[in-house]
Amino acid sequence: MSTDTASAAKGIRTARGAADRPARTPEERRAARREGWARRGPLLPALIFTIIVTQIPFLMTIWYSLRSWNLLRPDGQTFVWFQNFVDIFMDSTFRSAALNSILITVGCVFAALILGTLFAILLDREFLGRGVVRTLLITPFLIMPAATSMLWSVSLLNPSFGLLNWVIGLFGVAPIDFTSQLPLFSVIMALVWQWTPFMMLLILAGLQAQPKDVLEAAALDGAGWGKTFLFVTLPQLRRYMELAVLLGAIYVVNTFDQIYLMTAGGPGTASANLPFYIYQRAFLGFDIGQAAAMGVVTVIATIIIATFALRLIFRSFDAKD
């Protein structure tokens, strides 16, 4: 018992081997099984709940994706194998929505990461009003996205009375109708604003977790701020940055509020991402089969990309121990 808690503290792998190896008496085996259930037991409620609530609907989505099912057509449902998948890959709007999804996610995550890192570095020092500044910087993450979406589109980006247009007007730039002329840019701008605090918090956590003796040693060795940051701080921050990118991407790739409320995917379908386009096909086009097929493709693509990303992160986790 005490050995397995000790090894548990070190990591998973060591504990795995110890539990169930060589030939044992039935009694020992029963004890081992009981022990196994005692270990697994606390996990089961969460696991079972998650499987039921997420996997049953997803299996149904796969089933729907193989059927022709348009609520507008009276002939009902038929089984069409992979026709929906063929159709969506021929659909240029689907391809542009996929591209928009990538642009929005990559653009937002990296811009927010850079800005968040900058803010975190500025906050990681003692100065007058540090707490207030941090409070100001965290706030966009706390405000309801539905609220900020509408306020960005009408209050800040409006071509005639928007605040941003007034600001750029001070520099002699003619007013821009952001949400219709630069729809993707507008959406990304609002998203970067919302997600920068999240990145900042994670990077700040990383900065504050730095061992202070290492920093002092670097200072004693006469390393300047730049050198210390590049060779001491940045490598240590890497894992925090990777995690920030992964978590940020998971949420940003699902962006719906901003697109629905700022541009409605428009003009036309210029700013539709996959979640919005799928929603449109399902709830406005009533084409359940095709919407489901798009959902399945999205899931497969994100899981493939995320598997690689997670491997990368898990590797950097292991490297530490």
Binding site: T50, F127, L202, A291, I303
Partner: protein, 296 residues
């Protein structure tokens, strides 16, 4: 909500004292002071949209949508009165139930699960962790049709408890990940000591582990509260008159009556206030929580 607010009373971050000598060296001369001014400027620019929203909420409609923008005006509570007159209560109640109950459920489910995944690991831990996070990669739009159909069959459309279940499943994976990292942080020796003193599993959990990860639970709960309170997509598609939450109310403020910018701003301030206050109160916990756990 109470979980996040109590977090305020937790002790301050320990590391700051040790870091003081290094930091003090950089303050005092002109460079750092300039950096402080720059930091303040950046923060104010970044915060400007929020300030503008709050300012707009105290204007009359014609001042809210004027060219050029109005900076000086006589503040009025009219817009708040107008929003409250619209019977916002039920929406807030629904949001409160959906957020509060789902957060409690998430914590109740994720703490034991994270415990199993860290202190007493089951086999294939990383597979289980990957499974949890992979459900977050499932775009919610990909499952909304089946959820709609199932909810219809079970007669739970436009029911706030449906949102409770969905918000629980939405936040559970992240909570399991976060809580696991907090448990990983607990030194093995502490547990051994508890065992030598003859403490059983429940006793160890209650008197040793839970107190040690309380900041983690607070941070996790806060994250869940933020995402649940702000959730829009499920609420938009699965609720109508009875179970609609605050984001849906907010959208109704805009679309049903055209553009009333000042009123929309007032509604937005009211809608965001609970989470903003909770987040402000528990922000130390949030940073500390992430630094303790997130990547360990």
């Amino acid at each position: 909500m109470s979980t996040t607010l109590t977090a305020e009373t937790a002790p301050e971050r320990g590391g700051a004292a040790g870091a003081a000598p290094v930091r003090r060296r950089r303050t005092g001369s002109a460079g750092p002071r300039l950096l402080t001014v720059l930091t303040w400027l950046l923060a104010l620019v970044f915060f400007a949209p929020v300030a503008w929203m709050v300012a707009t909420s105290f204007k009359q409609e014609n001042a809210a949508a004027s060219t050029p923008p109005t900076f000086f005006f006589e503040p009025t509570w009219d817009q708040y009165a107008a929003v409250l007159a619209q019977n916002a209560g039920p929406y807030f109640l629904n949001s409160l139930i959906a957020t509060g109950v789902s957060t409690v459920l998430v914590i109740a489910l994720s703490v034991p699960a994270a415990y199993a995944l860290s202190i007493r690991p089951v086999q294939r831990t990383s597979d289980v962790l990957f499974f949890f996070i992979s459900t977050k990669m499932l775009p919610v739009v990909a499952v909304i049709m089946p959820i709609y159909v199932i909810s219809g069959r079970l007669h739970v459309l436009d029911n706030v408890w449906t949102l409770v279940v969905l918000y629980t499943s939405m936040n559970l994976p992240i909570a399991v990940w976060m809580m696991r990292s907090f448990f990983q942080e607990v030194p093995g020796e502490v547990l051994e000591a508890a065992q030598m003193d003859g403490a059983g599993l429940m006793k160890t959990l209650r008197s040793v582990l839970i107190p040690m990860v309380t900041p983690g639970i607070a941070a996790t709960a806060l994250i869940c509260v933020i995402f649940a309170w702000n959730e829009f997509f499920f609420a938009l598609n699965l609720t109508a008159a009875k179970a609609a939450t605050v984001p849906v109310f907010l959208m109704g403020t805009m679309t049903s009556e055209g553009l009333f910018l000042a009123k929309l701003s007032a509604a937005s301030v009211l809608a965001s206030l609970p989470v903003v206050l909770a987040g402000w109160a528990a922000q130390k916990q949030l940073v500390r929580g992430l630094s303790m756990g997130a990547v360990k």
